[in-house]
Amino acid sequence: MEHRIYARWLDIGTRIGAALLVASFAIYVFGWLDPHVPHADLVRLWTLPADHYVAATGAPTGWAWLQHLHKGDYLNFLGVAVFTTITIVCYARIVPALPRLHAALALIQIAVLLAAALS
């Protein structure tokens, strides 16, 4: 029972995530929306460690990317976020269908994933 619920929600989520990712990447790579970091500068910047890249470009960290969705590069984060959120949604959806022990495990798992997401 819980397998089918999980599979249905995961299937929907991965389809939405993939569609968002392909569409947003087309917008980004063809320059239909200006990126936060110009394409040509990436060649120099992607050799830096992530923290140096953030310092050099003023790239948003944490959830601040939500304020940059009008930029071509950060629009792609919508699709990525769907992929990294769908497991939390699926776990939450199956909790009522699980026996008590596994429901407790699912709730702890959701807490761990939310802690990682909000870190």
């Binding site: 993939a18 890249y53 792609n76 990525v80 990294t84 596994h102 702890i108 990682a116």
Partner: protein, 279 residues
């Protein structure tokens, strides 16, 4: 080199990786990180984040059909994934905090270790579990799945569950630190250590990976290590390549492909090690 040539080069190489990964029975992430970090100019932080997202999306895409067909067990996966997802956060934080040279050396050693595991590890189609352990029973780690090849239901149970928790804790650290995916370790841990039938181990491994990699992926995302120009062409390349690989599966010489993958891992692992040592 012009910026636009890089995503094209990434797409081409990851498309080939996707084909080879399916033929060799490994995940795309395990090839992506060593090869791209060895032969592309991107910093290891961005490569590891991309590798993690490739492994994650591949696992998420495969999970629905595995769950519906009974080839992945939620009750087997949930406790193991919980342990792995906690330690993968630790691995990701460690990977981003340690000096690049040290991570590069550790990556090289890990890749060479993976090549050794792939070369030496055996597999048991239906391992014999005479007596399940108490923890496995308490966690409901048993059941029946339908094996289409045998055209019958196969019942299964597990043993050595406490050891498996330690194994998955270690696997989580490696997955988070190197963005390699973890099918290469999950399957032997489930199959050889816990005694899960091979098909169920392969399917459940993908499910565990989808949870473990999710928590680590958030760490990379929140710290600015995700670059869409690297992630998206690679992801599309691996996924399209995997579809072609699945079609070639019947005609490709599996043992030859496996030898090629082992050679590639040895070369890429050796290069990562030398790079980390500054040689």
């Amino acid at each position: 080199m012009e910026w636009w040539l890089w995503p094209i080069a990434l797409f081409a190489i990851t498309f080939a990786m996707g084909i080879v990964a399916v033929l060799a029975g490994v995940g795309g992430g395990v090839l992506f990180v060593p090869i791209v970090s060895a032969f592309f100019p991107f910093h290891l932080d961005f490569v590891r984040a991309a590798g993690l997202l490739i492994a994650l999306t591949s696992a998420l895409s495969a999970a629905p059909s595995l769950l519906v067909n009974g080839l992945a067990s939620l009750r087997l996966a949930m406790p193991l994934a919980l342990v792995g997802s906690v330690t993968s956060v630790i691995g990701a934080l460690l990977g981003l905090a340690l000096p690049t040279g040290i991570v590069q050396i550790a990556l090289g050693v890990t890749i060479l270790g993976i090549a050794l595991i792939m070369w030496r590890a055996g597999r048991a189609e239906h391992p014999d579990v005479a007596r399940p352990d108490a923890l496995g029973v308490a966690l409901g780690m048993h059941g029946v799945y339908h094996d289409p090849a045998l055209a019958r239901d196969v019942s299964w149970q597990v043993h050595r569950t406490p050891s498996a928790f330690f194994a998955f804790a270690g696997i989580g650290v490696l997955a988070g630190m190197f963005g390699l995916g973890a099918g290469w370790a999950n399957v032997p841990a489930l199959n050889l250590l816990m005694g899960v039938p091979l098909k169920l181990a392969v399917g459940t491994s993908g499910f565990v990976l989808s949870v473990v990699d999710t928590s680590a992926a958030w760490i990379y995302l929140n710290r600015g290590a995700v670059l869409p120009m690297i992630v998206v062409p690679s992801l599309i390349g691996v996924m399209l390549g995997a579809k072609v690989g699945a079609r070639l599966l019947r005609i490709a010489p599996a043992s030859l492909v496996r030898k090629i993958v082992l050679t590639v891992l040895l070369v890429a692992g050796g290069r990562a090690l030398l790079k980390g040592l500054g040689i």
